[in-house]
Amino acid sequence: MTEHEQFADDLALYALNALPGEDRARMKDHLETCASCRRELEHLRGDMALLTLSANGPRAPQRSRQRLLDAIAQEPRTPRLASASPSRSWWGVLGWTAAVAALVFAVVLWQQNSALKQTLASANSRAAESAREMEALRKVAAPIIEPDAQRITLVAVKTPPQPQGKAFYLRNRGSLVFLANNMPPLPPQKTYELWLLPTQGTPIPAGVFKPDAHGSASVVNPPLPAGTQAKGFAITVENQGGSDTPTMPIVMMGAGE
Protein backbone atom coordinates (compact mmCIF):
# COMPACT_ATOMS: atom_id res chain seq x y z
CA MET A 1 0.00 0.00 0.00
CA THR A 2 1.47 3.38 -0.95
CA GLU A 3 1.88 6.00 1.69
CA HIS A 4 -0.88 8.05 0.24
CA GLU A 5 -3.32 5.16 0.19
CA GLN A 6 -2.53 4.71 3.87
CA PHE A 7 -3.63 8.27 4.52
CA ALA A 8 -6.77 7.89 2.45
CA ASP A 9 -7.69 4.83 4.50
CA ASP A 10 -7.31 6.68 7.77
CA LEU A 11 -9.28 9.72 6.65
CA ALA A 12 -12.63 8.27 7.74
CA LEU A 13 -11.23 7.70 11.20
CA TYR A 14 -9.79 11.18 11.28
CA ALA A 15 -13.17 12.64 10.37
CA LEU A 16 -14.71 10.73 13.27
CA ASN A 17 -11.95 11.87 15.66
CA ALA A 18 -11.20 8.17 16.10
CA LEU A 19 -7.55 8.29 15.12
CA PRO A 20 -5.07 8.04 17.99
CA GLY A 21 -2.70 10.89 18.85
CA GLU A 22 0.40 10.24 16.74
CA ASP A 23 -1.49 9.17 13.64
CA ARG A 24 -3.79 12.15 14.00
CA ALA A 25 -0.85 14.59 14.11
CA ARG A 26 0.64 12.98 11.01
CA MET A 27 -2.67 13.17 9.19
CA LYS A 28 -3.03 16.82 10.11
CA ASP A 29 0.38 17.55 8.58
CA HIS A 30 -0.49 15.56 5.48
CA LEU A 31 -3.75 17.44 5.03
CA GLU A 32 -1.90 20.73 4.90
CA THR A 33 -0.25 19.67 1.67
CA CYS A 34 -2.79 17.37 0.08
CA ALA A 35 -5.82 18.97 -1.53
CA SER A 36 -7.41 15.72 -2.61
CA CYS A 37 -7.40 14.36 0.93
CA ARG A 38 -8.85 17.63 2.19
CA ARG A 39 -11.68 17.32 -0.30
CA GLU A 40 -12.35 13.72 0.67
CA LEU A 41 -12.36 14.73 4.33
CA GLU A 42 -15.06 17.29 3.60
CA HIS A 43 -17.12 14.62 1.88
CA LEU A 44 -16.66 12.24 4.79
CA ARG A 45 -17.82 14.90 7.18
CA GLY A 46 -20.83 15.43 4.95
CA ASP A 47 -21.54 11.70 5.26
CA MET A 48 -21.26 12.02 9.02
CA ALA A 49 -23.83 14.77 8.95
CA LEU A 50 -26.18 12.31 7.27
CA LEU A 51 -25.69 9.84 10.07
CA THR A 52 -26.93 12.39 12.56
CA LEU A 53 -30.29 12.20 10.82
CA SER A 54 -30.83 8.79 12.31
CA ALA A 55 -31.00 10.53 15.67
CA ASN A 56 -34.56 11.59 16.19
CA GLY A 57 -35.27 12.92 19.58
CA PRO A 58 -37.31 15.30 21.62
CA ARG A 59 -36.85 19.00 21.04
CA ALA A 60 -34.69 20.95 23.40
CA PRO A 61 -36.53 22.31 26.41
CA GLN A 62 -37.77 25.89 26.12
CA ARG A 63 -35.50 27.09 28.88
CA SER A 64 -32.44 26.36 26.68
CA ARG A 65 -33.48 29.02 24.24
CA GLN A 66 -33.67 31.70 26.87
CA ARG A 67 -30.49 30.46 28.47
CA LEU A 68 -28.64 30.90 25.17
CA LEU A 69 -30.03 34.38 24.54
CA ASP A 70 -29.12 35.41 28.07
CA ALA A 71 -25.58 34.09 27.61
CA ILE A 72 -25.26 35.99 24.36
CA ALA A 73 -26.44 39.16 26.03
CA GLN A 74 -23.59 38.71 28.51
CA GLU A 75 -21.01 38.32 25.75
CA PRO A 76 -18.90 41.37 24.98
CA ARG A 77 -20.09 43.15 21.84
CA THR A 78 -17.60 42.54 19.01
CA PRO A 79 -16.37 45.59 17.07
CA ARG A 80 -18.11 44.35 13.92
CA LEU A 81 -21.52 44.24 15.53
CA ALA A 82 -21.05 47.50 17.41
CA SER A 83 -20.18 49.38 14.22
CA ALA A 84 -23.64 48.82 12.80
CA SER A 85 -25.53 51.43 14.79
CA PRO A 86 -29.08 51.75 13.62
CA SER A 87 -31.51 54.28 15.03
CA ARG A 88 -33.45 53.60 18.19
CA SER A 89 -36.78 53.25 16.52
CA TRP A 90 -35.48 50.60 14.09
CA TRP A 91 -34.30 48.49 17.02
CA GLY A 92 -37.67 48.90 18.60
CA VAL A 93 -39.58 47.81 15.51
CA LEU A 94 -37.58 44.68 14.62
CA GLY A 95 -36.50 43.59 18.00
CA TRP A 96 -32.84 43.18 18.70
CA THR A 97 -32.71 39.39 18.36
CA ALA A 98 -33.80 39.44 14.72
CA ALA A 99 -31.36 42.25 13.98
CA VAL A 100 -28.54 40.28 15.55
CA ALA A 101 -29.38 37.19 13.51
CA ALA A 102 -29.23 39.30 10.37
CA LEU A 103 -25.87 40.69 11.44
CA VAL A 104 -24.46 37.23 12.08
CA PHE A 105 -25.43 36.23 8.54
CA ALA A 106 -23.96 39.44 7.17
CA VAL A 107 -20.68 38.82 8.99
CA VAL A 108 -20.48 35.30 7.57
CA LEU A 109 -20.98 36.62 4.04
CA TRP A 110 -18.55 39.49 4.54
CA GLN A 111 -15.87 37.09 5.75
CA GLN A 112 -16.44 34.96 2.68
CA ASN A 113 -16.13 37.95 0.38
CA SER A 114 -12.87 39.12 1.99
CA ALA A 115 -11.42 35.63 1.79
CA LEU A 116 -12.29 35.38 -1.90
CA LYS A 117 -10.80 38.79 -2.68
CA GLN A 118 -7.61 37.82 -0.93
CA THR A 119 -7.37 34.56 -2.85
CA LEU A 120 -7.83 36.43 -6.12
CA ALA A 121 -5.23 39.05 -5.24
CA SER A 122 -2.62 36.48 -4.28
CA ALA A 123 -3.33 34.40 -7.40
CA ASN A 124 -2.80 37.49 -9.55
CA SER A 125 0.46 38.41 -7.89
CA ARG A 126 1.71 34.82 -8.23
CA ALA A 127 0.91 34.93 -11.94
CA ALA A 128 2.83 38.20 -12.37
CA GLU A 129 5.77 36.75 -10.48
CA SER A 130 5.78 33.62 -12.67
CA ALA A 131 5.80 35.77 -15.81
CA ARG A 132 8.81 37.70 -14.53
CA GLU A 133 10.63 34.46 -13.72
CA MET A 134 9.91 33.08 -17.17
CA GLU A 135 11.33 36.21 -18.78
CA ALA A 136 14.50 35.98 -16.71
CA LEU A 137 14.93 32.31 -17.58
CA ARG A 138 14.44 32.97 -21.29
CA LYS A 139 17.24 35.49 -21.20
CA VAL A 140 19.60 32.93 -19.65
CA ALA A 141 18.67 30.13 -22.02
CA ALA A 142 18.62 32.11 -25.27
CA PRO A 143 22.35 32.40 -26.03
CA ILE A 144 22.80 28.73 -25.22
CA ILE A 145 20.07 27.24 -27.35
CA GLU A 146 18.95 29.77 -29.96
CA PRO A 147 19.96 28.57 -33.46
CA ASP A 148 21.53 31.88 -34.46
CA ALA A 149 23.59 32.17 -31.30
CA GLN A 150 27.30 32.20 -31.94
CA ARG A 151 29.21 29.28 -30.50
CA ILE A 152 32.87 29.69 -29.94
CA THR A 153 35.10 27.04 -28.47
CA LEU A 154 38.30 28.19 -26.89
CA VAL A 155 41.26 25.85 -26.82
CA ALA A 156 44.88 26.30 -25.80
CA VAL A 157 46.76 28.24 -28.46
CA LYS A 158 48.30 26.11 -31.25
CA THR A 159 45.88 23.26 -30.62
CA PRO A 160 43.54 22.25 -33.42
CA PRO A 161 39.90 22.28 -32.29
CA GLN A 162 38.63 18.84 -31.27
CA PRO A 163 35.09 17.55 -31.33
CA GLN A 164 33.64 18.47 -28.01
CA GLY A 165 30.34 17.89 -26.26
CA LYS A 166 28.97 19.20 -23.01
CA ALA A 167 25.94 17.73 -21.31
CA PHE A 168 24.05 19.61 -18.57
CA TYR A 169 21.79 17.19 -16.78
CA LEU A 170 19.30 17.77 -13.96
CA ARG A 171 18.43 14.37 -12.62
CA ASN A 172 15.34 15.05 -10.55
CA ARG A 173 13.56 16.73 -13.44
CA GLY A 174 14.98 14.56 -16.19
CA SER A 175 16.14 17.80 -17.89
CA LEU A 176 19.01 17.73 -20.29
CA VAL A 177 20.77 20.37 -22.37
CA PHE A 178 23.54 19.11 -24.63
CA LEU A 179 25.87 21.24 -26.74
CA ALA A 180 28.40 20.00 -29.25
CA ASN A 181 31.20 21.78 -31.18
CA ASN A 182 33.52 20.83 -33.99
CA MET A 183 31.63 17.66 -34.81
CA PRO A 184 32.71 16.07 -38.07
CA PRO A 185 29.91 16.11 -40.69
CA LEU A 186 28.02 12.88 -41.44
CA PRO A 187 26.66 11.41 -44.67
CA PRO A 188 22.91 12.13 -45.21
CA GLN A 189 21.65 8.74 -44.05
CA LYS A 190 23.49 8.90 -40.76
CA THR A 191 22.99 10.85 -37.57
CA TYR A 192 24.68 11.20 -34.20
CA GLU A 193 22.77 9.87 -31.21
CA LEU A 194 23.28 10.89 -27.60
CA TRP A 195 22.95 8.29 -24.83
CA LEU A 196 22.49 8.66 -21.10
CA LEU A 197 24.50 5.97 -19.35
CA PRO A 198 22.64 5.11 -16.16
CA THR A 199 24.43 3.76 -13.09
CA GLN A 200 22.30 0.66 -13.58
CA GLY A 201 20.95 -0.76 -16.80
CA THR A 202 21.34 -0.21 -20.52
CA PRO A 203 22.04 3.12 -22.21
CA ILE A 204 18.97 5.34 -22.58
CA PRO A 205 18.39 7.24 -25.86
CA ALA A 206 18.71 10.98 -25.24
CA GLY A 207 18.14 12.53 -28.64
CA VAL A 208 19.60 12.63 -32.12
CA PHE A 209 21.46 15.52 -33.72
CA LYS A 210 23.32 16.53 -36.84
CA PRO A 211 25.98 19.21 -36.78
CA ASP A 212 25.46 22.42 -38.74
CA ALA A 213 27.99 23.88 -41.18
CA HIS A 214 30.18 24.98 -38.27
CA GLY A 215 30.11 21.59 -36.60
CA SER A 216 27.81 22.76 -33.81
CA ALA A 217 24.73 20.99 -32.58
CA SER A 218 22.46 20.92 -29.57
CA VAL A 219 19.84 18.73 -27.95
CA VAL A 220 17.42 20.37 -25.53
CA ASN A 221 15.20 18.47 -23.12
CA PRO A 222 14.65 15.20 -24.93
CA PRO A 223 12.04 12.98 -23.23
CA LEU A 224 13.84 11.21 -20.38
CA PRO A 225 12.54 9.29 -17.37
CA ALA A 226 12.86 11.57 -14.32
CA GLY A 227 15.19 10.61 -11.51
CA THR A 228 17.63 8.47 -13.49
CA GLN A 229 21.10 8.67 -12.10
CA ALA A 230 23.64 9.14 -14.90
CA LYS A 231 27.21 7.95 -14.64
CA GLY A 232 27.98 9.51 -18.01
CA PHE A 233 26.92 10.26 -21.56
CA ALA A 234 28.05 8.83 -24.88
CA ILE A 235 27.62 9.47 -28.61
CA THR A 236 27.35 6.94 -31.38
CA VAL A 237 26.67 7.15 -35.09
CA GLU A 238 23.32 5.67 -36.10
CA ASN A 239 21.11 5.50 -39.13
CA GLN A 240 18.86 8.46 -39.78
CA GLY A 241 16.07 8.40 -37.22
CA GLY A 242 18.18 6.99 -34.43
CA SER A 243 18.12 3.64 -32.72
CA ASP A 244 16.91 2.13 -29.48
CA THR A 245 20.25 0.54 -28.73
CA PRO A 246 23.68 1.98 -29.40
CA THR A 247 25.64 0.77 -32.42
CA MET A 248 29.34 0.35 -31.72
CA PRO A 249 31.76 2.08 -31.81
CA ILE A 250 31.19 4.81 -29.28
CA VAL A 251 32.66 7.94 -30.86
CA MET A 252 32.56 10.24 -27.84
CA MET A 253 32.07 9.66 -24.15
CA GLY A 254 32.25 11.51 -20.88
CA ALA A 255 31.71 10.76 -17.23
CA GLY A 256 30.23 13.09 -14.66
CA GLU A 257 32.30 15.74 -12.93
Partner: protein
Amino acid sequence: MAELYDRYSSVVYAVALRVLGDTGAAEDVLQEVFLQLWRKPSAFDAARGSLGNWLAVIARNRAIDSLRKRRPETDIDDVVVSASCDMASDADRARAAEKVRGVMGNMAPAQRSALEMAYWEGLTHSEIADKTGEPLGTIKTRIRAGLIALRKAFQV
Protein backbone atom coordinates in the same frame (compact mmCIF):
# COMPACT_ATOMS: atom_id res chain seq x y z
CA MET B 1 -29.13 33.96 16.56
CA ALA B 2 -32.60 33.19 17.84
CA GLU B 3 -33.61 32.45 14.26
CA LEU B 4 -30.67 30.07 13.75
CA TYR B 5 -31.44 28.47 17.07
CA ASP B 6 -35.07 27.91 16.16
CA ARG B 7 -34.09 26.35 12.90
CA TYR B 8 -31.25 24.11 14.00
CA SER B 9 -31.45 23.50 17.74
CA SER B 10 -33.37 20.27 17.30
CA VAL B 11 -30.60 18.80 15.14
CA VAL B 12 -27.90 19.76 17.63
CA TYR B 13 -29.89 18.66 20.66
CA ALA B 14 -30.94 15.32 19.13
CA VAL B 15 -27.34 14.47 18.25
CA ALA B 16 -26.02 15.50 21.68
CA LEU B 17 -28.74 13.57 23.46
CA ARG B 18 -28.15 10.42 21.42
CA VAL B 19 -24.45 10.52 22.22
CA LEU B 20 -24.66 11.52 25.86
CA GLY B 21 -27.99 10.03 26.91
CA ASP B 22 -28.39 12.80 29.43
CA THR B 23 -30.64 15.83 28.90
CA GLY B 24 -28.56 18.13 31.10
CA ALA B 25 -25.33 17.27 29.32
CA ALA B 26 -27.07 17.55 25.96
CA GLU B 27 -28.30 21.02 26.81
CA ASP B 28 -24.78 22.04 27.73
CA VAL B 29 -23.50 20.91 24.35
CA LEU B 30 -26.36 22.76 22.68
CA GLN B 31 -25.41 25.93 24.51
CA GLU B 32 -21.71 25.51 23.75
CA VAL B 33 -22.18 24.91 20.03
CA PHE B 34 -24.37 27.94 19.47
CA LEU B 35 -22.22 30.19 21.62
CA GLN B 36 -19.19 29.11 19.61
CA LEU B 37 -20.98 30.04 16.43
CA TRP B 38 -21.89 33.39 17.91
CA ARG B 39 -18.31 34.11 18.89
CA LYS B 40 -16.82 32.97 15.62
CA PRO B 41 -19.33 33.18 12.79
CA SER B 42 -16.42 32.99 10.34
CA ALA B 43 -15.71 29.42 11.44
CA PHE B 44 -18.57 28.32 9.22
CA ASP B 45 -17.78 28.55 5.51
CA ALA B 46 -21.07 29.50 3.89
CA ALA B 47 -19.87 28.76 0.36
CA ARG B 48 -18.90 25.21 1.15
CA GLY B 49 -21.89 23.60 2.78
CA SER B 50 -25.09 23.97 4.69
CA LEU B 51 -25.13 25.32 8.22
CA GLY B 52 -27.31 22.44 9.39
CA ASN B 53 -24.78 19.83 8.28
CA TRP B 54 -21.92 21.76 9.81
CA LEU B 55 -23.71 22.17 13.12
CA ALA B 56 -24.58 18.46 13.15
CA VAL B 57 -20.93 17.45 12.78
CA ILE B 58 -19.69 20.04 15.30
CA ALA B 59 -22.38 18.95 17.76
CA ARG B 60 -21.48 15.28 17.41
CA ASN B 61 -17.77 16.00 17.88
CA ARG B 62 -18.36 18.15 20.96
CA ALA B 63 -20.70 15.61 22.46
CA ILE B 64 -18.16 12.82 21.95
CA ASP B 65 -15.44 14.97 23.50
CA SER B 66 -17.71 15.49 26.47
CA LEU B 67 -18.61 11.80 26.65
CA ARG B 68 -14.99 10.71 26.60
CA LYS B 69 -14.01 13.53 28.91
CA ARG B 70 -11.36 14.90 26.69
CA ARG B 71 -10.44 18.30 25.41
CA PRO B 72 -11.91 19.27 22.06
CA GLU B 73 -9.71 17.73 19.43
CA THR B 74 -10.48 19.85 16.44
CA ASP B 75 -10.79 23.58 16.19
CA ILE B 76 -14.16 24.49 14.71
CA ASP B 77 -12.30 26.61 12.16
CA ASP B 78 -10.83 23.50 10.63
CA VAL B 79 -14.10 21.75 10.02
CA VAL B 80 -15.51 21.99 6.53
CA VAL B 81 -18.52 19.84 5.80
CA SER B 82 -19.52 19.35 2.20
CA ALA B 83 -23.21 19.61 1.52
CA SER B 84 -24.79 16.24 0.88
CA CYS B 85 -28.29 17.40 1.57
CA ASP B 86 -29.75 20.42 3.25
CA MET B 87 -31.26 19.95 6.67
CA ALA B 88 -32.94 23.29 6.90
CA SER B 89 -36.55 22.23 6.99
CA ASP B 90 -38.17 19.56 9.10
CA ALA B 91 -39.61 18.01 5.94
CA ASP B 92 -36.15 17.74 4.31
CA ARG B 93 -34.79 16.21 7.46
CA ALA B 94 -37.60 13.70 7.77
CA ARG B 95 -37.16 12.54 4.16
CA ALA B 96 -33.42 12.28 4.51
CA ALA B 97 -33.75 10.47 7.85
CA GLU B 98 -35.95 7.87 6.18
CA LYS B 99 -33.30 7.29 3.54
CA VAL B 100 -30.52 7.02 6.10
CA ARG B 101 -32.48 4.49 8.12
CA GLY B 102 -32.97 2.49 4.94
CA VAL B 103 -29.26 2.45 4.14
CA MET B 104 -28.34 1.53 7.71
CA GLY B 105 -30.94 -1.22 7.67
CA ASN B 106 -29.49 -2.73 4.52
CA MET B 107 -25.94 -2.57 5.79
CA ALA B 108 -24.22 -5.73 6.98
CA PRO B 109 -24.64 -5.90 10.77
CA ALA B 110 -20.89 -5.93 11.44
CA GLN B 111 -20.43 -2.84 9.30
CA ARG B 112 -23.36 -1.02 10.84
CA SER B 113 -22.24 -1.71 14.38
CA ALA B 114 -18.62 -0.66 13.68
CA LEU B 115 -19.85 2.59 12.21
CA GLU B 116 -22.27 3.22 15.07
CA MET B 117 -19.66 2.46 17.70
CA ALA B 118 -17.28 4.94 16.11
CA TYR B 119 -19.92 7.54 15.49
CA TRP B 120 -22.22 7.50 18.51
CA GLU B 121 -19.86 6.15 21.15
CA GLY B 122 -16.70 7.76 19.88
CA LEU B 123 -14.68 4.56 20.17
CA THR B 124 -11.32 4.49 18.43
CA HIS B 125 -10.72 1.82 15.86
CA SER B 126 -8.47 -0.11 18.23
CA GLU B 127 -11.18 -0.07 20.89
CA ILE B 128 -13.68 -1.39 18.38
CA ALA B 129 -11.18 -4.03 17.27
CA ASP B 130 -10.74 -5.13 20.88
CA LYS B 131 -14.46 -5.21 21.44
CA THR B 132 -15.31 -7.21 18.32
CA GLY B 133 -12.16 -9.27 18.04
CA GLU B 134 -11.77 -8.18 14.44
CA PRO B 135 -8.46 -7.00 12.98
CA LEU B 136 -7.75 -3.24 12.85
CA GLY B 137 -7.63 -3.15 9.08
CA THR B 138 -11.09 -4.70 8.81
CA ILE B 139 -12.58 -2.14 11.18
CA LYS B 140 -11.02 0.74 9.24
CA THR B 141 -12.37 -0.56 5.97
CA ARG B 142 -15.86 -1.15 7.41
CA ILE B 143 -16.15 2.35 8.79
CA ARG B 144 -14.95 3.97 5.62
CA ALA B 145 -17.19 1.81 3.45
CA GLY B 146 -20.16 2.55 5.70
CA LEU B 147 -19.78 6.30 5.32
CA ILE B 148 -19.38 5.98 1.57
CA ALA B 149 -22.50 3.82 1.34
CA LEU B 150 -24.43 6.67 2.94
CA ARG B 151 -22.90 9.13 0.51
CA LYS B 152 -23.84 7.02 -2.49
CA ALA B 153 -27.45 6.83 -1.36
CA PHE B 154 -27.68 10.60 -1.56
CA GLN B 155 -25.78 11.15 -4.77
CA VAL B 156 -27.95 12.26 -7.63
